[in-house]
Subunit: 181 residues, 4 copies
DNA sequence: TATGAATGAGGCTTCATTCAT
DNA sequence: AATGAATGAAGCCTCATTCAT
């Protein structure tokens, strides 16, 4: 299948990837509005006009990037949750996935990327509630809270020891903040 | 005639307010980058150049806006927390403040505005931990989680019944998600 | 005559002088186009609008400044020439006047100011030719040459010893550049 | 087809020239500060933004223009001086070069352009002094004087008979203004 | 008459997108 | 399909001048 690809197709595929990678980098560095199409192609071996052979607009790359993120990240981010037998396992799966992703070299995991997994998380929580894993809480609120806590901890470098960070985060959401009487 | 005549000052004060309000509106509608200075003054009875009699740049209005938000929102947002005798009171104070603010007519309370209160919340949580109100959790992570949950619930209209929403949110963080055995 | 001037007149006279002096300074520092009316009034105890009570436009101050220069400088610049009995005396009078002016503290003597004396110099040279002081040279060309040489020497600091500079300059124009056979 | 096709290059070269010529014209007409970039491109078949494909700023065109002038004018202006065997030949070479240039149709020779040759002239005069061609005068002062005289004469139309003008100018500087006793 | 804020035309420059080669 | 120059709309900001107090 690979060998059978005409050279042309290969080049096109590669160029598209060039642009996407460059765009991800540039958007991360300067933000969407701050980045220029020229910035993107400059981070590429391609020429200015070529950009428009692959994407119809700057906005278009962003969409492609988001889709890419969703496809690549969401499965990894939701790993282990469906099989969780307890709330603890579920939370543990979630936090360790986030911290592992954050610790990765390419480390492009932005808050925005995390949000890509928001709906998955909501759904999984609701399923968890149905399965009796969780108390019947507001799933969206919990999902938002989990994501925010994970992002906050990761931003502050807690992810350097993922195991410990995961344990702390799990406890917080598992038992709440109230000291035992 | 003199005492009654901070006339010019009044006008200046008003113009400044015109610009700030217009900017808040325009930024909310189009985002900072999407908004133009012209958009702002067009939402004002003033002339183009007048903008620069009050602010040195677009960036400058944003700063002023943020400062304004912080000054106006933070006290109200942190109300009742310092006096809380239990975790429940603390959480209750927090969530009802957010939902009350969200329910207000001018309702400009954006996620960004909430973040203005992030550091206050962190500090109050840490104080709470010291006073034995909370288990020794990661204050920043908890603060982020609280803010995110509150925002998420408010966004989804839960704030229409603030009392109920507050109760649900408080429970979530007070006892965690684990069902009692 | 001075004592009899109503206070009002005095103030007006002084304000006009304020503006003129500030304008001279600012124009010298940034050039006419580079200078702003605001720059000028900022170098003054006066307010922005007041400028237009004294001058009708930026251009108008420049004219006034030129006129002032002409009136103040031209007599001093042309001193001693009419009475010169020889070419040497004439040239000597010219160069020492320029160098003296250049050496003065306020030292605002710009090339442009020197040009104010151009026509006077032309006329005096022509009179000198008629009186047999000079060979029948092209008066305007000579005037331009004298002014340029003086300015060049002054710019390069030769004016620090005015006597010597004058002597050198006089010789140059008196006998020309050709070495004696 | 390839060798014959620096087509794109040709266009670029031509566009650059368009802009430079337009800029020279516009600067001459309105002065540097009075000229706008829009004035320049309007004197061109090109579009507004294209200006910035060739020059980074208005200031940048000026520099290019000055460089161009220097490269084009200086050699012609200094022609014949290095080989001069006498002061007369030297001066004669200088003045006829200036008057010839001034008489040319394109006649863009501005005073500013002449100044481009100032340093060359200084150097040549110093060399001339070393070679015993001239009395040991102040080279810079003499250069300034020569340039000013030439410009003045040319401005006043003396250049219509270059030979005569040259002769007069040469005499002035060769022997000075003092009548023989 | 002094004040200083208001005015608004217009300057320089950037940038997404198109187009001839 | 790739190239990279051309396009021109639009952005931010400055500044001479006017005007209400």
């Amino acid at each position: 299948m690979d060998a059978a690809l005409p050279r042309r197709q290969q080049v096109k595929r590669q160029n598209r990837r060039f642009i996407l990678e460059a765009a991800r980098k540039v958007f991360a560095e300067r933000g969407y509005d701050g980045a220029t199409v020229r910035d993107i192609i400059n981070a590429t071996p391609l020429a200015a006009g070529t950009f428009y052979n692959y994407f119809t607009s700057k906005e278009d790359v962003r969409r492609a990037l988001d889709a890419q993120t969703a496809e690549a990240l969401r499965p990894r981010l939701s790993e282990g949750r469906k099989e969780a037998a307890t709330a603890e396992e579920f939370l543990s799966a979630f936090f360790s996935a986030v911290f592992a992703l954050k610790a990765e070299p390419g480390g492009v995991l932005e808050k925005a990327d995390l949000q890509a997994g928001f709906e998955d998380l909501c759904a999984d929580i609701e399923a968890g509630i149905a399965r009796g894993l969780f108390l019947p809480v507001d799933a969206a609120a919990l999902a938002a809270a989990l994501l925010a806590a994970a992002d906050q901890m990761a931003e502050r470098g807690k992810a350097s020891d993922p195991a410990e960070a995961t344990a702390a985060a799990v406890l917080l959401f598992l038992r709440g903040v109230q000291p035992p009487i």
